[in-house]
């Protein structure tokens, strides 16, 4: 009997131990089910082994639950297995009412769902779609990204990005663009009005001038005293000069940034200019050496004007005893980018052996009607370089000058590479 009792006691103890083990296992399973378990540590012969549980990884669960994009997992036929808080906010329905419904119910066009699933096969996993929202019964644009979670899990992971704000920004951008276009139109209008104004003004100024010139010529100088005759000449020359100033002003204002750009081969342009200037080149026995020059995107007319002005200047401001020697070439060593400019530039130099300038004068020379020399010394109104500067500005480029008195001047032209 006693032996039986001992057996019974041992069996009861074993049952109790097994019950305890079962309870422990059940608690673990419950903990896993409720997502309270990050990882399990199992002692195997005294050696601890760590089993982390993917589905219950608290950090990731929290991340997905809290992050500011809609996240869902669905079965292949679209049944929603899980959705995060943000998705429920987006569609305006509590998440417990979403789980168990089908994803296409939230699509503006439910049939699209089949296409999205089909597209995964071809590796196309992102799309723009319209989703329905209970909030104000509005549709909203969204970005949907699908990730097939097989074979790890038999489900499809979905991330939904609300594009409402992005679309708003896009629309605002389009609106700004339109406003900008309107401003540009207005500027162009003002510009053409200004051009018209200049022509009308120049016409009205020239009309009386022309008569002064014409009639002063008709006056019979033989009846005049010597000093009166001299005054007549001064008056006539002054009227002619005023007339040429008006012409230059009109020319200056006619070089606008609204230009027709074309491929311009500067070699060809400069040989045309040299043909035009044939007489003054021969007159001064000038020599012009052309180095390597690029083809640039520019206005043909303005390029001709630019180089004509610069070559004319180099010939005009040459030393009395030395024939002008002018070199025009691209500076190959120029690779430096102008600070704060993303564009790269080509640099072209026009170098002469003329009278040069004092460095204190260099800033003035690009200003309209600025002259460094007395009128009787060198002809001209001081507009050539102002036009050059304007032309370079029209081409989003720049012109600079280096000069040494009695040695020569070098003009640097910087053209952006378009």
């Amino acid at each position: 009997m006693k032996g039986n009792d001992i057996n019974t006691d041992a069996l009861l103890a074993e049952i109790a131990a097994l019950k305890e083990e079962l309870f422990e296992s059940n608690s673990i399973v419950n903990a896993i089910k409720q997502g309270d378990v990050d990882a399990l540590v199992v002692h195997n012969n005294g050696v601890p082994q760590l089993y982390s549980l993917e589905t219950a990884d608290y950090t990731y669960r929290l991340l997905i639950e809290k992050f500011r994009q809609g996240a869902l997992s669905i079965s292949r036929d679209g049944l929603i297995l899980y959705c995060n808080d943000y998705f429920s906010k987006l569609v305006g329905i509590p998440s417990e009412l979403i789980i168990g419904t089908y994803l296409n119910e939230y699509f503006d066009t439910p049939a699209q769902f089949e296409q999205l699933i089909e597209a995964i096969k071809y590796g196309i996993t992102t799309h723009e779609i319209l989703l329905k929202s209970e909030i104000g019964k509005n549709n909203f644009p969204a970005y949907i990204a699908l990730t097939d979670l097989e074979p790890a899990v038999e489900a499809i992971g979905i991330v939904i990005t609300d594009l409402t704000e992005k679309k708003k920004h896009e629309e605002a951008l389009i609106q700004h663009h339109l406003e900008l276009e309107e401003k540009i139109k207005e500027l162009n209008r003002i510009n053409s009005n200004l051009k018209e104004f200049i022509h009308v003004i120049s016409h009205d100024l020239k009309e009386p001038l022309r008569k002064i010139v014409m009639h002063s010529e008709r006056i019979n100088g033989s009846n005049l005293s010597e000093s009166d005759a001299k005054s007549m000449i001064v008056m006539k020359l002054s009227a002619l000069r005023l007339n040429s100033l008006i012409d230059d002003l009109v020319q200056y204002s006619s070089h606008t940034a609204q230009l027709e750009r074309a491929e311009v081969d500067l070699n060809a342009t400069i040989s045309e200019v040299i043909d035009d200037l044939e007489i003054s080149i021969a007159d001064k026995n000038a020599q012009i050496k052309i180095g390597k020059l690029p083809v640039i995107q520019a206005s043909r007319v303005q390029m001709r004007q630019l180089f004509a002005n610069l070559i004319t200047n180099a010939i005009k401001y040459s030393k009395a005893d030395t024939p002008p020697f002018i070199q025009i070439y691209q500076d190959d060593n120029f690779n430096v980018e102008i600070p704060n400019q993303n564009t790269k530039f080509v640099k072209i130099q026009i170098k002469d052996n003329g009278i040069g300038m004092e460095s204190s004068h260099l800033l003035k020379i690009f200003t309209i009607f600025q002259r460094l020399h007395a009128k009787n010394e060198y002809s001209g109104n001081g507009i050539g370089l102002a036009i050059c500067k304007k032309i370079m500005e029209n081409h989003s480029g720049n012109i600079t000058v280096e000069s040494t008195l009695n040695e020569g001047t070098t003009f640097n032209l910087y053209f952006p590479i378009l």
Partner: protein, 134 residues
């Protein structure tokens, strides 16, 4: 084709000084038998529409004139069937590109620049003759 050497020209010019010079210039040219002067575009149109006046062989007009300017007058002339075959010329102190373009579109024979000397004024009738001869 108008009869050469025996032409009638109507000139529209609002400026009295220039009118004197241009009238004298054409009167002294033997190819012109009759020179009619009008002071603006409106008077030019009135002259051409008046049945009492014969149609001229040539029209020369300034551009900047009061009431109806040269361009407006030419627009009407060159769009009127009875008048559009009369060769029309424009002369002005300066070339305004937008006027020049309008003249080209209208079919004006030439856009002349008012000269700076009396000698050059004498070239105007010659230039006109050489163009209408073509």
């Amino acid at each position: 084709m108008p009869e050469k050497y025996n032409l009638h020209i109507v000139i529209a010019e609002d400026d009295n000084d220039d009118a004197d010079v241009i009238f004298e210039t054409f009167t002294n040219n033997p190819n012109f038998r009759k020179v009619s002067l009008v002071p603006n575009g409106e008077e030019l149109l009135n002259y051409l529409k008046d049945d009492a006046n014969e149609n001229p062989d040539v029209i020369l007009t300034d551009i900047n004139m009061p009431i109806v300017d040269g361009i407006e007058a030419l627009e009407e002339i060159l769009n009127t069937n009875e008048l559009k075959n009369i060769p029309c010329f424009v002369y002005s102190t300066s070339i305004n590109p937008s006027y020049k373009e309008k003249c080209d579109v209208l079919g004006v024979k030439a856009y002349l620049i008012k000269p700076y000397s009396f000698e050059a004024f004498n070239e105007i009738p010659k230039t006109i003759l050489s163009i209408i001869e073509l």
